[in-house]
Symmetry: C2
Subunit: 226 residues, 2 copies
């Protein structure tokens, strides 16, 4: 058996990653982990579960409630319920791109360190993470340097050192979508919109990037056709 | 105002640290953070609160419930309720000292990354952490290299980069206790025992180390005199 842990948010990138890890990289014992952090877009957890259920190689899908983050972060981030509004991409000023309001302080280190604990407890050395190139635009904790330095920390572990693998870190979202379409992924079972509505808003930064990714693949977003 | 965030578990080291940060380093706006991770020794949270309440410089004491850790870690660690028994120090084999059963996978990175998020959300650049030299014996994530590499990650933050400060990292527990006694700390209001009893068991690794620390200071443990 080839074991790995995979972080799956239910979005385009991490869903593609889950299928890629199993179908392209040949892992057949996969431990999937999602987070419920009081996000406005909790529908992503439902589709994450549906994706995991569809793959027999996924032995466990654990959804961790870390909504305490919302408690102590309060309204300081637009991603959490009760927080400020998510802006349209067109309304974000150039200068704010270094740290958008959707930024959650130190979010990715929190998520990755919990995920590494989960991976270690399941005796997995590999932890797959769906960071991709476009995420870099606004978040210091989505960069290659961030991941390299995180792995520098994990490498000190004296027994089961976990290594974070981010195979899409240099790819555009369009490139990731191309990989996923070739793997036969049903992207109607993914969720990307930062807002909490029934349908994608099509104007928030996530929606705009997602639409562009499918456009690069020459198709419409399968989620919008439903 | 001089702001800092401080991690306080309610044990000897972190309680000393809290007083040290305020009384010796001059911080007058302190945000304290404790974790409830389903530990067997939850009394430490009660004494942590008592210590915070006694210091007007502590503006907020936040206890975060991260007991989800117990859910997914199951019985793999002796520190969590329902987990295996905490052994007496004399029963721990030499060879097991590289990773004792009280080890929780990747615990300190989880705690520090959450604490860094808390510090960042309160606009604190300094996060104080009570690691001390003796902790090194069994945990890779208590070492100076571990802290240096964590700070390497935080230094990538583009706005409020948090720096973890561990002023006791090269001191013995006895040295730390000496500092605390000079600051007038009431060590009867601290808790160290790994087991869940009403009184310290006096034989678990934590109790033995604590007793030794007070012996170095020439006194009996104030907690045992109560």
């Amino acid at each position: 058996m080839k074991k790995a842990a995979v972080l799956i948010s239910g979005g385009l990138d991490s869903t593609t990653l889950l299928h890629h890890v199993i179908k392209s990289l040949g892992y057949d014992e996969v431990y999937a982990l999602s987070f419920d952090y009081g996000q406005k877009h909790s529908r992503e957890l439902i589709v994450a579960k549906a994706q995991c259920d569809s793959l027999p190689e996924v032995k466990e899908h654990n959804v961790l409630d870390i909504s305490y983050m919302g408690d102590f972060l309060g309204s300081s981030s637009a991603l959490v319920k009760g927080g400020v509004e998510v802006p349209d991409l067109k309304d974000i000023a150039e200068g704010d791109l270094d740290q958008p309001v959707t930024y959650v302080p130190n979010r990715n280190m929190m998520l990755l360190s919990i995920a590494a604990s989960f991976a270690e407890s399941r005796d997995c050395r590999q932890l797959y993470y769906g960071a991709q190139a476009q995420d870099e635009y606004g978040y210091w904790d989505c960069t290659e340097s961030f991941l390299a330095r995180m792995n520098d920390v994990f490498s000190l572990n004296r027994r089961t050192g976990v290594h974070v693998e981010a195979p899409f870190v240099n790819m555009s979202k369009g490139h990731v979508a191309k990989i996923g379409l070739a793997l036969g992924i049903d992207y109607a079972q993914t969720w990307t919109c930062y807002r909490g509505g029934d349908k994608p808003c099509e104007v928030c930064p996530s929606c705009v990037e997602r639409a562009l990714a499918f456009k690069e693949c020459g198709i419409d977003d399968p989620l919008l056709k439903k």
